[in-house]
Subunit: 169 residues, 2 copies
Amino acid sequence: MEDVKSGAKPQRGDDGPQSSLGFLLSQLGFVSSRRWHQTLAPLGIEPRHFLLLRFVARSEGQSQQSIGQMLHIPPSRIVALVDQLEERGLLERRANPSDRRARALYLTPRGRRVLDKVWKLAMSHEQRLGSSLTPEEREQLITLLQKLAAEEKLVPGVHPGLTSAPWPS
Amino acid sequence: MEDVKSGAKPQRGDDGPQSSLGFLLSQLGFVSSRRWHQTLAPLGIEPRHFLLLRFVARSEGQSQQSIGQMLHIPPSRIVALVDQLEERGLLERRANPSDRRARALYLTPRGRRVLDKVWKLAMSHEQRLGSSLTPEEREQLITLLQKLAAEEKLVPGVHPGLTSAPWPS
DNA sequence: TATTGTTATACTCTATAACTATA
DNA sequence: TATAGTTATAGAGTATAACAATA
């Protein structure tokens, strides 16, 4: 941008991606997400499976579509996700006596154990991510990001990328 | 996670995605990126085109592959990007007298005007993003994120998502 | 023989909409 | 007629590797 702009003096925030809040968030969000993806890989699941497992664990017996609505995942995609978790023996579909169309989702004992492992991995992932910050800085950062998240009306535990299309870089 | 974990008391950072640094970054990075994508859409370009235009503007006359190396974009993908920008009349490929294999990249006058517009859009995008923060908070946040970016060895102006695969959510 | 740019192929992921079985 | 779940199809985006021209 140095010699591109006619003569306007750059201000904080528009003097290039180095100090752009949006670009920093985009870069760091991608890196954080990619590493989390790699962290989960040895367990044979992806971040989206983790989010799904969490919601099922939180309220077992729900139908696929009600879970999908909470996570903002369209019905046709829930199927594949549940399929994958069922193949790995982490989740099971049971019949719903009161509505034979619906499939009630439950964690298997193995699913519970894996979810415990995932939480431990999440802790180390989380610690590694901010290792260059002091505890106070970390608190500050999280507080500020939560303010932004509130501004953007983000729902805790729901990733906006699950709703729609792939990542626009 | 409430009733899933055996009995361990949740600590800050692992008591669910609400206060997880990684998840917040991932959510906000996605939202920021998606809105930036939508902001550029009326101009007929995407964020990746903007990054490419910037690098070309910064040093005109470079070959496609040298630009690609700076942005960490593989050769086979540069072609399509340059194609698209050339179709829109923002960029042009010129012959390189000293190496007839290479194609030297230059902005067109129109490309320069569009790039100026994009910078203006970037400013308003940037302002909107942190509108719930005070100027001091904004400075703090950017400083902390830059610290993280340094920790992750992120290169200014280079988006890690351009290098490889789509967004893992 | 190596390199620049290009293209062809296969692969993955997704949305859309059709379909079934129940309600 | 509407709804839960499923599946088939087509489309977009990508990596990979082959290719032509030039070095």
